[in-house]
């Protein structure tokens, strides 16, 4: 019996965002947009979903006069991401 893949992470853009945030302390919206190649609107929607699930936190502030939105992965998010990767590995090892 395979473990169920977290449906929230099983989406291309949300998974990409989580993969970036898992490797850094924090990343701002512009960086995430550049790295994922997503549109601002789509990225905002996916970030909202991850925030609502408690996987990431979003902090809005300013850097000088420019608005800046900073995202960070939470311990819940790290746990979910780890679980997702482990589940993927089980799927892949079973298919070999």
């Amino acid at each position: 019996m395979f473990p169920k893949l977290d449906p929230l992470l099983h989406s291309e853009l949300r998974l990409a965002v989580m993969s970036i945030l898992a490797g850094v302390d924090e990343a701002d919206f512009t960086y995430l947009k550049k790295q994922t190649g997503a549109t601002s609107g789509n990225l905002s929607v996916q970030i909202d979903k991850l925030t609502a699930a408690g996987y990431i936190t979003v902090e809005k502030g300013f850097k000088g006069k420019m608005p800046r939105t900073v995202c960070r992965i939470t311990p819940t998010g790290q746990e979910a991401f780890r679980g997702y990767v482990e589940a993927l590995q089980e799927y892949l090892s079973a298919s070999k």
């Binding site: 998974l15 924090e26 960086y31 850097k63 892949l92």
Partner: protein, 185 residues
């Protein structure tokens, strides 16, 4: 989305981000490498042609120029985050800088000592540590050789010729920066 595609997204995104961060760190190696090369050469030439060791005070121009330039470069990097490796690299070289400046000040003001010997050893160590963090054998070996050979040269060679060890150290930092950029293209 299949399990394989998911894993591919994770690996690709993670690697792309990691490479971008390390490419960004490479700029700082190049900045300090260029500054060290130029400063050591200028002091060497001034000392050599005037015979005045007082030109060594120009070393303090290096942090005075380097830190504001690094801060200015950091302003433009506002969107590039830090990862564990870039944070540790930054930490290693900050510790090196603190030791180098403090010991130089002590040697000038309080207790005369062979500063070149001490600094070249800790510089080689910092370079070695950078190589370990970057998992790059050429950088590890260069750092080791800089520390060990530099220490021997610092003991054998006197006066202004010692400065050329730091020119070599500066070139090594520049090479490290180039390697980091090439590794993370």
């Amino acid at each position: 989305m299949t399990a394989q595609q998911s894993l591919q997204i994770i690996t690709e995104t993670f690697n792309k981000s990691r490479k971008g961060i390390l490419r960004n760190s490479a700029k700082y190696f190049m900045l300090w490498g260029a500054l060290l090369t130029v400063t050591s050469l200028v002091i060497y030439l001034l000392w050599h042609f005037t015979g005045r060791p007082q030109w060594n005070f120009l070393w303090f121009a290096m942090p005075v120029i380097g830190y504001p330039v690094a801060a200015l470069m950091g302003k433009y990097d506002v969107n590039v985050p830090q990862n564990e490796v870039s944070k540790m690299l930054s930490g290693v070289w900050r510790v090196f800088g603190t030791f180098a400046i403090t010991l130089s000040a002590i040697a000038i003001c309080l207790v005369p000592m062979n500063v070149s010997l001490i600094i070249v050893i800790i510089m080689g160590l910092a370079e070695c540590m950078s190589g370990v963090l970057l998992k790059n054998w050429p950088i590890i070996i260069c750092g080791f050789l800089l520390g060990v050979c530099g220490a021997v040269v610092a003991m054998l060679v006197k006066s202004e010729a010692q400065l050329l060890i730091f020119t070599l150290g500066g070139v090594l930092l520049l090479i490290t920066g180039f390697i980091m950029q090439l590794q993370n293209k």
